[in-house]
Amino acid sequence: MKNTFQMSALAATALAATAVPALSQSIDEKVNAAFSSSTGWFVNLIFSPFPGTSFPWIVAWLVVAASIFTIYFGLIQFKAFGHSISLVKGDYSDPNNAGEVSHFQALATALSGTVGLGNIAGVAVAVGIGGPGATFWMIFAGLLGMASKFTECTLGVKYRNEYADGSVSGGPMYYITKGFEERGVPAGKFLAVLFAIFCILGAFGGGNMFQANQAHAQITNVVGDFPGWITGVIFAGIVFAVIVGGLKSIAKVTEKVVPIMGVLYVLTALVILLMNFNMIGWAFGEIFRGAFTGAGVAGGVVGALIQGFKRAAFSNEAGVGSAAIAHSAVKTNEPVTEGFVSLLEPFIDTVVICTMTALVIIITGQLVMDPNTGMYLLDEGASTIQTIDGNKGVALTSAAFSSAVPAFKYILAIAVILFAFSTMISWSYYGLKAWTFLFGEGKTKELVFKVIFCIFVVIGAAASLGPVIDFSDAAIFAMAVVNITALYVLMPIVKEELKSYQSRLKSGEIKKFH
C-alpha cells in the first residue's frame, strides 16, 4: 500500500516535471553549478600535476605502487593465475565447508561492484580524450593492478573482524588499524579514519553519482532528452526501497541478472568485432601507434597514458581498497587464497571487459581522423577527439554499438542501468561499512547514511558529466592515497603469508579436495 503511494507520488512529480520543462532544466543547472563550485578544490588537489608537467601525481602514485607490488611479489599475477582459477573452481575447498561463502561467490560479488559504468562510459571517456593508445595503457595498468588487488584482499581477509553472531566485517579500515598495531607503526587509527572518510565520499561519487549520471545519459539516448533529476528520483526510489526498505528481492534479482548481462555485453562486443574482423589488426595497430606516438591526441603519449591509467584504476579499483571489503567474507583459513582469487578481478574487469568496449569504439570508427595525416582531429578547446556525432561518455559507446546493429543500443541501455544499479548497491554497502566504522553501528546512524546516499543519486543524475566524473575520480583516488600508504607498511605481512602458503602447497600439506 505504502509502495503504491510512493509510486503514484513519483509519477505525479514526473508528470509535473514534464509540464514545466523550463523550470526543471534550471534545477539541473543550479545543482550543477553548486556541485562544481563546492567540489572543485578537492578535485584540483587530487589531480594536481607534478610541477612543470601535465602528469597528475595520483596516477603515478597508483602505477608505481602496482609496479612495486608486482616486483615485490615476483610477478604473482602471472605465476598464480592458474592456481587462482582452481581456487575459484573450488578445487581446494573443503566439502565440509559447503554452505559457507565460496571463493567464487566472493569474487562474483566484488566483480558486480567493479563491473559498472567505468567499463562502458569510463572507457569511452578515456578513448575520447586519450585516443586508441589509451587502451594499451589501460590494459597495462590492469595487469599491474592485479598485484595491488592481491595485496589488499589478502590483508582484508587476514584482519577481518569476526563477530559473535558469525557475521564478518573487513576492509582497509580494519587492516590498517590492526596491522599497524601488530607492526608497531603509529597513526594506524588516524589513517583508518581518513580512509573511512574517503570511502564514504567515494561511495557518494564514483559508486553513486557517476553511475546515476551515466545511466541517465544512456536513457535519454534511447528515449529522448528529459531532465536528469527525474531519472535521479526514480533511481533513488529503487535504491531506497532496497537499502532502507530491505527489499532484498530487487537486489537478489540484480545480483543474478548482472553476471548474465556482463556475459551478454562481452558477447555483443565480440559479435561486433567479428563483423569487422578484418579491422581487428588495424585496431590493434592504432592502439600501439597511439600508445607510443600519441597520434595527435591532446597531451600526446602522456595524455593517452594518463587517460588509460586513470580509467583502469577507476574501473577495477585496484589499490583503492573497496574490493577488500567485499572479499573479506569468504570462508577460508588461508587469507592469501582470497588474494589469489581477487587478482582475477582486474583481469576480467579491465583486460577483458574494458578492452572490448575500447575495441568496439575504435573499430566502428567513432573517432574522427584526418585521412591525410593519420592524426586524430580535436574538438574546439583541443581537449577531446572529435567523434562522428559529437558523442562523449556513454553516448559514444552507445553510438559505437548501434552503428554495427541498431538494436544493440537497447542491450547497452539495459546493461548500463543494471550495472549502474548493482554498483550503487555494492558501494552503498562499502560506504555503510566505513560509516559504521566511524560512527558505530545502530539503526538510526545507518539510516542517516542511506538517506544521504539516496539524495546523492538525484544530484548525480542532474549534474553534467564534467564535474561528476571529476569528483568521482577524486574521491576514489583519495581512498587509494591512504590505502596504498598502508599497503606499503603491511606488504611484508602478505609476503610471509604467501611464502608459508606456497611452501605448504608444495609439500602437499594443502591439498586438493576435488
Partner: protein
C-alpha cells in the same frame, strides 16, 4: 563388521516411507541407519554483499534448525524402534552429496523416496532418485 544404510531424508512423506523401509531392513539385517539430510547449495550462486556478510551466521542457524526440527525427531523415533542410527547434515548438490556420504561410510546401500514429479519436471531438472540410480557407488533402493 556392521554396514550402514544411507537414507536420503528431507522430512517429506516419501522420505518418511524410505526411512521406514530402511529401518525395517536394518533391523532384520543387523545394520545401522545413516540419516542423510542435504541442504541444497551451490558454491556458484550470486549473493549480495550483505548476504556474504551474514552467510556464516545463516549457515549456523540453518544447521541448528535442521538438527532440531528434522533430524532429532527422526533419531528419537529410530532409537525407540531399537535401530542404531546416526545423522549427517550436509550442504551441496543433493544426489552428489548422498553418493559422497555412501562412499565415505562404505554403505551397504542407499535408500531414497520417489518424489513423483511429473515427467516434464524431472526431464527439466532431473530427479534425485534418477541421478542416484545412475551415479551411486552402492546399490540404490527407490521406495515408491
Amino acid at each position: 563388521m556392521t554396514k550402514t544404510i544411507v537414507v536420503g531424508y528431507d522430512g517429506s512423506k516419501s522420505a518418511e516411507r524410505a526411512l521406514e523401509f530402511a529401518a525395517a531392513r536394518a533391523k532384520s539385517q543387523g545394520e545401522t541407519v545413516t540419516v542423510a539430510h542435504v541442504l541444497e547449495w551451490s558454491p556458484y550462486t550470486f549473493l549480495t554483499p550483505e548476504e556474504l556478510e551474514e552467510r556464516h551466521a545463516r549457515r549456523t542457524e540453518e544447521m541448528a534448525r535442521a538438527e532440531s526440527m528434522v533430524i532429532a525427531p527422526v533419531l528419537e523415533k529410530l532409537a525407540a524402534q531399537g535401530v542404531d542410527a546416526t545423522a549427517d547434515i550436509k550442504y551441496g548438490h543433493i544426489a552428489d552429496t548422498i553418493c559422497q556420504i555412501a562412499s565415505d561410510k562404505d554403505a551397504a546401500q542407499v535408500v531414497i523416496g520417489r518424489t513423483g514429479h511429473s515427467k516434464l519436471a524431472s526431464r527439466l531438472f532431473g530427479s534425485v532418485a534418477g541421478t542416484l540410480a545412475q551415479a551411486s557407488p552402492v546399490p540404490v533402493t527407490i521406495v515408491p
